[in-house]
């Protein structure tokens, strides 16, 4: 089923958990602007979880993966960090255990900063197993291929 909200849309495969919501960045105070975030995983997503998988990645088995697509504010679009235009096409070579925000033995991860349609994003992916990254990256790309990002940044 195609899930759509806050200028993001993705086909949610059977067995995947997906949330497209607005969240305040971790550490920001109540009342701060909430930004669109897409979380997808092959495990049940806890209600209490971090923007980049805190509370989720410890649940991943060797056959699971977690995806976070976080949108930053419009002021980020012009910064060098988000200079890459267009969404990434993850490959097996992109992933490494030392690219995780929270290191968990056996897992692998990678993050990409990019802009698309005048919006600044960070895509962060955690694979449950570095050894099985080839198969997991295929599953990841099947989902990312269905991702739609609206160009309108004024939501």
């Amino acid at each position: 089923m195609k899930l759509r909200a806050h200028g993001m849309a993705v086909d949610a495969p059977r067995g995947w958990e997906v949330r497209i919501s607005r969240r305040r960045r971790e550490g920001q105070e109540v009342g701060a602007e909430r930004r669109p975030v897409l979380h997808a995983a092959t495990v049940a997503l806890p209600e209490e979880r971090g923007d980049f998988g805190g509370g989720v990645t410890p649940l991943l088995s060797e056959e699971d993966l977690f995806v976070s697509l976080f949108e930053y504010g419009p002021e980020a679009v012009g910064t060098p960090l988000f200079a890459t235009k267009g969404r990434p096409r993850p490959t097996v070579a992109d992933f490494a255990p030392n690219r995780l925000q929270r290191s968990i033995p056996g897992q692998s991860g990678c993050q990409w900063f990019f802009q698309e349609g005048g919006r600044a994003f960070c895509l962060y992916v955690v694979l449950g197993s570095h050894a099985r990254r080839a198969a997991l990256v295929n599953r990841l790309n099947d989902v990312l291929a269905t991702l739609d990002l609206d160009a309108d940044a004024s939501r």
């Binding site: 089923m1 899930l3 759509r4 909200a5 806050h6 949610a12 059977r14 067995g15 995947w16 958990e17 997906v18 949330r19 497209i20 919501s21 607005r22 995983a41 092959t42 495990v43 049940a44 209600e47």
Partner: protein, 264 residues
């Protein structure tokens, strides 16, 4: 004159014969109808001898409350839709342990007691690991504002008419417990209070645990009759995630015998 009488007699004989065939056909058709009705259970109250002792009163529930359907073994579908505050979500019923789907509406009076129980901060008494997801009809039939007011903070609420249709929900309140391991409905039914739901869930999970334990420890000597054995086989197949229509049920004995060699 004789010829005329003969023709009349022959004609009458033929007519009587045709009518006889017609009557026999009608009687036969009538007998078949009666037999079919009997097989469907019609007329049992009229034909059964009256018992002198206590009479079994059929189980009934309060008007407006739906009767439980029990274990169905039907395949479960993921729960996708909007949240009252405009997010878009999918809860997978197979991504974790059991999921209890509570089909509620903002309008039904019985549902209000359930909503209120969810706002209560005391534990819901569900088995460990069981996740609760409330499903209302979609925004074309429900007020997102009304649902948001009723929902407790942090309660998972999905608004989707498609999910109601997929689970063939007859009305609200209605509860479906999905076995996350098998991806199948472990039990479903209605309830007027959360305590009844707790009991439904406890019984469903308890029955499943008992079936699994019985399966693991062997069955011993089977002394039951054919119907008993058939019911037990159904329970065990459902516990193993095999419901009507499962591909394995299509296999012949020869194909089953070939399986170990083919997979080995």
């Amino acid at each position: 004159m004789t010829v005329l009488v003969t023709v009349l007699l022959v004609g009458l004989t033929v007519a009587v014969a045709l009518l006889g065939v017609l009557v026999v056909g009608l009687l036969r058709s009538h007998a078949e109808i009666l037999r079919s009705l009997h097989e469907l259970g019609a007329g049992r109250e009229d034909t059964a001898p009256r018992a002198a002792g206590p009479v079994d009163v059929p189980f009934g529930v309060r008007p407006g409350v739906l009767e439980p359907a029990g274990v169905t073994g039907a395949g479960a579908v993921d729960v996708s839709g909007e949240t009252p505050d405009g997010d878009s979500v999918q809860f997978s019923v197979t991504a974790g342990p059991d999921t209890l789907l509570a089909f509620l509406s903002s309008g039904c009076l019985t549902c209000h007691g359930i909503w209120e129980r969810f706002r209560d901060r005391t534990p819901l008494g569900l088995p460990a690991g069981t996740r609760l997801v409330v499903v209302t009809q979609g925004t074309e039939r429900e007020s997102a504002t009304a649902v948001e007011k009723l929902a407790a903070p942090g309660l998972a609420v999905v608004m989707s008419t498609a999910v109601w249709e997929a689970y063939e929900v007859p009305g609200s309140p209605y509860f479906v417990l999905v076995d996350g391991t098998a991806g199948r409905v472990a039990g479903e039914g209605s309830a007027t209070s959360w305590e009844q739901v707790e009991r439904l869930v406890t019984e469903a999970t308890g029955d499943r645990a008992r079936d699994i334990a019985a399966h693991r420890h062997g069955h011993g000597e089977d002394t039951g009759d054919g119907a008993h054995r058939e019911a037990r086989a159904d329970r065990e197949l459902l516990a193993a995630g095999i419901a009507p229509g499962h591909p394995s049920l299509e296999l012949t004995a020869e194909e089953v015998a070939e399986l170990p060699r083919a997979q080995g």
